[in-house]
């Protein structure tokens, strides 16, 4: 029996989760939500996490019904992400690991998403589309690495959505992407927007500039048309590069992870492509596609059981951490 606690705080969510042999015992989380029109800055986000982290840690233990002695390993997000929030979380993880006398494990945030997706959906060996406010990558496993087949060459798809939400002052509660999705549902008209797939990769900064200019017309119905069109265009691009990777790998499974993966329209469009290819689509709900502590615990569980450990001196956080930098020692 192996129990791992995972700490996550690389963006505006602070979450701590506990996993015991594939069972999520607890997964509390708090989100730093800014007023409409504003994004979240590193120092403010770190301050938010600092204010809540110890409370969330207590909740995680209480909800799991465990004492520190029951924990086998302390996992935390080493990167990638925003510097100040990552440090805040790492400080607490390092401290409790020492107080409780437990080994520490620095986890790659992207791999946390992948491993949680694999655990929850039981997908065997899927092509992974990882889409969030901070990341957009198409990933497939091969020979001990999660290899990046395609990615954004500029901003993440979620960042494009979030920044446009700020321009038109949509509420950030519970998340800008969720509110965009609800508003887009009300639309029925589509306008063509720049479509920027670059081979295996995608680009989003051009579309963002384009729609920011269009939004300056400031008519409500124009916003709905733009939001619907934006989703259709962005998601089509993601479906295209996912399909390209699947064709490369001869894969019959797709797993969508990351906050943007909650979007039902994206799941629907991906589902259509999968059906055409006779492939299966896997996705998780907002408990697990949005950043959470249990996903770090799960990746930590895999790493720990395959013999990995992070020495305190090597436990520094890093804003840049490529998914394929990690040796996936827990898979063949």
């Amino acid at each position: 029996m192996t129990v791992v606690i995972g700490f996550e705080g690389s963006a505006n969510k602070i979450g701590i989760g506990i996993i015991r042999d594939g069972e999520v015992l607890s997964n509390p989380r708090r989100t730093y939500i800014t007023p409409p029109g504003q994004g979240f800055l590193p120092s403010d986000t770190a301050r938010h996490h600092r204010a809540f982290i110890l409370t969330v840690l207590k909740e995680a233990l209480e909800q799991a019904g465990l004492k520190p002695a029951d924990i086998d390993c302390v996992a935390y997000t080493k990167g990638p992400g925003m510097g100040a929030p990552l440090v805040t979380v790492a400080l607490v993880a390092r401290t409790v690991a020492q107080l409780w006398g437990k080994p520490l494990l620095g986890v790659n945030h992207c791999i946390g998403h992948i491993e949680m997706g694999r655990l929850i959906t039981k997908a065997n060996n899927p092509t992974v589309l990882y889409v969030s406010g901070g990341n957009t990558q198409v990933i497939a496993y091969s020979e001990r690495r999660y290899r990046i087949f395609g990615e954004t060459i500029d901003i993440a798809v979620g960042n494009c959505l979030d920044r446009f939400a700020r321009v038109i002052k949509i509420s950030n509660d519970p998340s800008p992407g969720y509110n965009i999705e609800q508003m887009a549902k009300k639309g029925s008209q589509y306008v063509e927007l720049p479509y920027t797939v670059k081979g295996m990769d995608v680009s989003f900064s051009g579309i963002l500039s384009y729609i920011e200019v269009r939004a300056a017309q400031r008519r409500f119905h124009t916003f709905i048309i733009l939001l619907l069109s934006l989703q259709e265009t962005l998601f089509s691009m993601l479906v295209e590069i996912t399909e390209r990777a699947m064709a490369h790998c001869g894969s019959q499974e797709v797993l969508i992870v990351g906050g943007v993966g909650c979007n039902l329209r994206l799941q629907e469009m991906m589902g259509v492509m999968c059906k055409e290819r006779g492939a299966k689509l896997f996705a998780t709900d907002e408990r697990f596609c949005i950043d959470n502590g249990a996903m770090i615990a799960q990746a930590g569980w895999e790493m720990f059981r395959s013999g990995q450990v992070t020495e305190l001196e090597d436990s520094w956080i890093t804003q840049r951490y490529r998914t394929d930098e990690v040796e996936v020692t827990w898979r063949d």
């Binding site: 982290i53 840690l57 510097g83 790492a90 400080l91 401290t95 020492q98 006398g101 305190l312």
Partner: protein
């Protein structure tokens, strides 16, 4: 700043010292090992050295500009207070 070139051993740098007492040497060492791994975000113009002696955590900063020094010291104090609060809430450390 007139004597800047002559002060601080002739380096002309700004220096700041902080000494923090802990209940035990073990506690001070836990704090040290939590606070030292992360590198200073700003690569140039500031350096700090964290050490433990007995049950005291000592930090020595050396900076080119007061603004950079202020930011680093201020961040460190925030981080230190978080570590100490964590130790208070989840300590004492288990028997080795």
């Amino acid at each position: 700043m007139a004597a800047a070139g002559e002060a601080n051993g002739g380096t002309g740098k700004l220096e700041f010292s902080l000494d923090v007492p802990f209940p035990s040497s073990r506690d001070a060492t836990i704090a040290l090992r939590s606070l030292s791994p992360d590198k200073e975000p700003r690569k140039g113009g500031i350096s700090k050295l964290i050490t433990v002696s007995g049950s005291t955590l000592s930090v020595r900063w050396s900076a080119d500009e007061s603004r950079i020094l202020r930011v680093s010291v201020s961040s460190f104090l925030d981080h230190l207070s978080l570590v100490m609060e964590t130790m208070e809430m989840f300590g004492p450390p288990v028997a080795v």
